[in-house]
Amino acid sequence: MIEVDQLVKVYAPHTPNPVRAVNGVSFTARPGTVFGLLGPNGAGKTTTLRIIATVLRPTEGTARVGGVDVRRDPAGVRRQIGFLSASTGLYDRLNPREMLAYFGTLYGMQGAALEARIDALVDLFEMRDFQDRPCGVLSSGQKQKTSIARALIHDPPVLILDEPTSSLDVLVARTVVERIDALRSSRRTILLSTHIMSEAERLCDEVAFLYRSKIQQNGPREEIKAGRTLEDAFFQCVDEVDKAAGGDA
């Protein structure tokens, strides 16, 4: 479970030009569902996810993962999440197996249990052929498989995916979407941020539209769609917000 409560993030707060990237964002993602955070680039999706993953500290508000507060126990939060984004790179000079072993060790795993988990992930993501090759020479698809396996090494109850297909070609992107779909389970919470509406349509049970640093609409996918496509629903939401902002001005 992820609970986000009135989250605010201001970059460069003590300079003449502070940036309010996230402005009072609240939502809840429940176990057994895929929650989609949808919005254009620059809306604040990545900042929100990075705060939940404790990579960034919130300026105001808070977030809890499995009841653990990101401010009070960031390491406790990180133990429960697997995080994948376009900026979570791989070590070019390690091979996928070493990569998984390294992160497994950092999660406190060791010995036969770690080896068994690595083997299971290697099989699950069909990595046998390239498991001993340095990550630096892998194809983008092989790298993405390795990254997902790295995020799942400790079998986390919460999976946070930030634009997982943004830098992939269509074929690899389709495979990744299929993998994410396969990762659903009754006890796992998946938080997915994307600006690709077709992905959200396929994967998400609940969605939130993040625009201009705020959640503009939030609820079950079908409720939000209200008979339209998700893309149409999003555009209508954006138009209404822009009109309101213009009116205010």
Partner: protein, 701 residues
């Protein structure tokens, strides 16, 4: 596995798998020494062999008229070299010379005939002759009443010509010795007539002192530079590759990440230093024969002790390098920051290698320099335990502070997540942007310090050489204050805020007067304390100082007061306690800013003998600005401090004698003056503390 160990292990593996790092860190330096030493020795031998194979023409004026016996002497073999003669004597002995009379001077039609000097100079330059001997005919008839002089002309820019000169001089010396021996024999004098006694010198110092001097510098430089590449790779490199976020998602603290990386840099640096040392030692060991008389005996006890000295030093530099690299957003930016750090780090070891620089209490605590001097002392056998403890202890503390700094950087979002594409921090202070709050940034403050130092060194010193007081006034008004105000205006700073230009509380004036008197007195004592650490001034320096004082004493007192007290009080304060202190306070605590500004103030004066007093006066002035919120009391303080010193000069010797002990090597205050000074200082500090008003409060009010 312990997470720190896991991070360190992975970092070491990554560095070892990088071919570039292996090449730069290990293979290059290890291969470099043998190639350099053996290669240069081989080239030198080859060159000398070539010289020995050739015949070198020597022109001797009147050669054909010289009797055969004298010609034979010129061509003759040299005796075996005695101990202590020059290293290349063997080559000189092997040199084949061909003697002849100089060919006739060529006469070009219509041109002035060349003088002999011009002719020989041209011949030596054109390689027609290696050397020209003039006055050889005088050797035919040596008169015991006269000392004739032979002249050997040669071309110092040509190796063969220089060696030929050496050989000729050796030949003549040998001939002269024969003549002397014959004269002594003819006069039936004993052999001891010209050699009443001989002197034998024996070096009883520890073997390997010379090696220590070289090795100390080299070892420290190697230890420092070994951190460069791994630190760059693990800090800026990790950011550029986008793996930092992946790592920070693991459930380990950021301090753990920082520690793991630190240990990896530390271990690699240490191994690199040791491998370099090993390669260097083996190279010297295998090529000892070609290194002549130099003593390269290695004291292994000293070597082992060096290792312990190096450990905290390497730790400190590893942490500093990692912190610097972490601060950078990209590899390129990291290189730009680390290179100056490395250059700066190599200065103290080289300074320590200079003859005469020895370890003492204060130098023991100086980062890098202390360790370099201790290593030098270990090889020379002059190091003692107390210095060792001071160096080791201080380096451990510096290392811990540096490690703490690395860990703190890993907690700062603006450091970790600044994108490489974003503008790098304005470390040179050159970006013209309206500063936050209208006051300069810390880099801009530091940049002004560098500018003022440079202007003062090149332009100010030149102006003062032209006219002492006029040059000083120009230095203070234009270079020090002018550049500060101009820079502030160019940056569009709020000048009133930047220079703390506002009225102080009334007690601020009183505190300034009291502290001015107190600081002047204390500074006399500090000057004496510092003089105890520094070498005594040379006779030349004392004469220069006396001359300087004479020039000043001829000037009217009001002019001295204006240029030495009033102008520095206003102009230097505008720069150091105005722009620089305010800029430093944008990023560090007021007290740290006062200390940094004090150091800059002392350094800019370029007078090592007054370093401590200048620093102290600078800190007091800084504290006055922070406490009163205004620069005006600092100006008054500075003026009074300097003015009292000028005033003392103007008093009669009797009066000065009552206030200052002039019999001491460095003037110190008398008991009376010291009491007055300390009481004034105590009351001044009391006023500041009791009635304080921080400038921040003042600004907000």
């Amino acid at each position: 596995m312990n997470p720190v160990l896991a991070v360190a292990r992975k970092e070491v593996i990554e560095v070892l798998r990088d071919k570039r790092s292996l090449y730069v860190l290990l293979l290059l330096p290890i291969a470099l020494y043998p190639v350099l030493v053996i290669g240069t020795t081989f080239l030198a031998t080859l060159q000398l062999r070539k010289l020995a194979e050739k015949t070198h023409p020597v022109w001797v004026e009147g050669w054909d008229e010289l009797p055969e016996s004298l010609q034979q002497t010129f061509r003759g073999e040299l005796d075996e070299a005695e101990e202590g003669t020059e290293d290349d004597f063997k080559q000189v002995r092997q040199l084949k010379l061909q003697f002849s009379a100089p060919p006739p001077t060529p006469q070009l039609p219509g041109a002035e005939p060349l003088t002999p000097d011009e002719y020989y100079k041209q011949a030596l330059a054109d390689d027609l002759a290696r050397a020209v001997v003039r006055g050889a005919a005088t050797l035919n008839h040596l008169d015991p009443e006269r000392v004739p002089q032979l002249e050997v002309l040669y071309n110092g820019g040509i190796d063969a010509s220089r060696l030929t000169r050496k050989r000729l001089v050796a030949v003549f010396d040998q001939y002269a010795a024969g003549v002397v021996a014959k004269r002594i024999d003819d006069a039936s004098l004993p052999d001891t007539t010209l050699t009443p006694f001989t002197t034998k010198t024996v070096d009883k110092g520890r073997e390997g002192a010379l090696l220590g001097r070289m090795l100390g510098a080299l070892l420290v430089v190697l230890a420092l530079t070994g951190a460069f590449y791994p630190a760059l790779d693990m800090g800026a490199g990790e950011k550029e590759r986008g793996t930092l976020e992946t790592l920070l998602l693991a459930p380990i603290s950021r301090a753990t990440v920082a520690q793991g990386k630190f240990w990896a840099v530390f271990v690699i640096s240490l191994v690199v230093a040791l491998l370099n040392l090993l390669s260097l030692g083996l190279t010297f060991a295998f090529s000892a024969g070609s290194l002549g008389e130099m003593n390269f005996t290695v004291d292994f006890t000293a070597l082992a002790a060096c290792f312990f000295v190096l450990v905290p030093l390497v730790a400190m530099f590893s942490a500093l390098s990692l912190a610097t690299s972490t601060y950078a957003a990209s590899y390129k930016e990291g290189q730009a920051y680390l290179t100056p750090l490395m250059i700066l780090g190599t200065v103290p070891p080289l300074a320590a290698a200079l003859p005469g620089v020895q370890l003492d209490g204060i130098l023991s605590l100086t980062p890098v320099l202390g360790a370099s001097l201790l290593i030098k002392g270990l090889f020379a056998g002059t190091a003692n335990l107390s210095h060792g403890v001071l160096v080791f202890g201080s380096n451990v503390i510096y290392a811990l502070v540096a490690i703490r700094w690395v860990a703190s950087l890993y907690e700062r979002e603006e450091v970790l997540w600044r994108p490489a594409a974003a503008a790098a921090p304005d470390l040179l202070g050159l970006r013209r942007e309206t500063p936050a709050g209208g006051v300069p940034s810390m880099p801009q403050a530091l940049a002004l310090g560098v500018v003022v130092l440079t202007l003062h060194f090149f332009v100010g010193a030149w102006a003062q050489r032209k006219d002492i007081l006029g040059g000083l006034a120009f230095d203070l008004i234009v270079l020090v204050a002018g550049s500060s105000v101009l820079y502030g205006w160019w940056l569009r700073c709020d000048l009133r805020q930047t220079f703390s230009w506002r009225p102080p509380p009334a007690w601020g004036w009183a505190a300034a007067v009291l502290l001015g008197l107190g600081a002047m007195t204390i500074n006399l004592d500090l000057g004496a304390v510092q003089a105890g650490w520094l070498p005594k001034p040379t006779v030349e320096e004392q004469l220069a100082l006396e001359k300087f004082n004479q020039i000043l004493s001829a000037k009217p007192w009001w002019l001295l007061l204006l240029v030495i007290a009033v102008l520095p009080g206003i102009m230097e304060e505008l720069c150091f306690r105005g722009f620089i202190l305010r800029g430093l306070r944008s990023e560090v605590s007021p007290w740290l800013a006062i200390v940094i500004a004090g150091v800059m103030f002392a350094v800019v004066h370029l007078d090592p003998s007054r370093l401590l007093p200048q620093f102290f006066a600078g800190c007091v002035a800084g504290a006055l600005v922070v406490r009163t919120g205004s620069i005006w009391p600092a100006m008054l303080f500075h003026g009074i401090h300097n003015g009292l010193l000028v005033g003392l000069e103007g008093l009669g010797e009797d009066t000065v004698g009552k206030l200052i002990d002039l019999t001491a090597e460095t003037p110190t205050p008398s008991g009376l003056l010291r009491t007055i000074g300390w009481v004034a200082a105590a009351v001044g500090v009391g006023l500041c503390v009791a009635l304080t008003r921080r400038s921040g409060d003042a600004a907000s009010s």
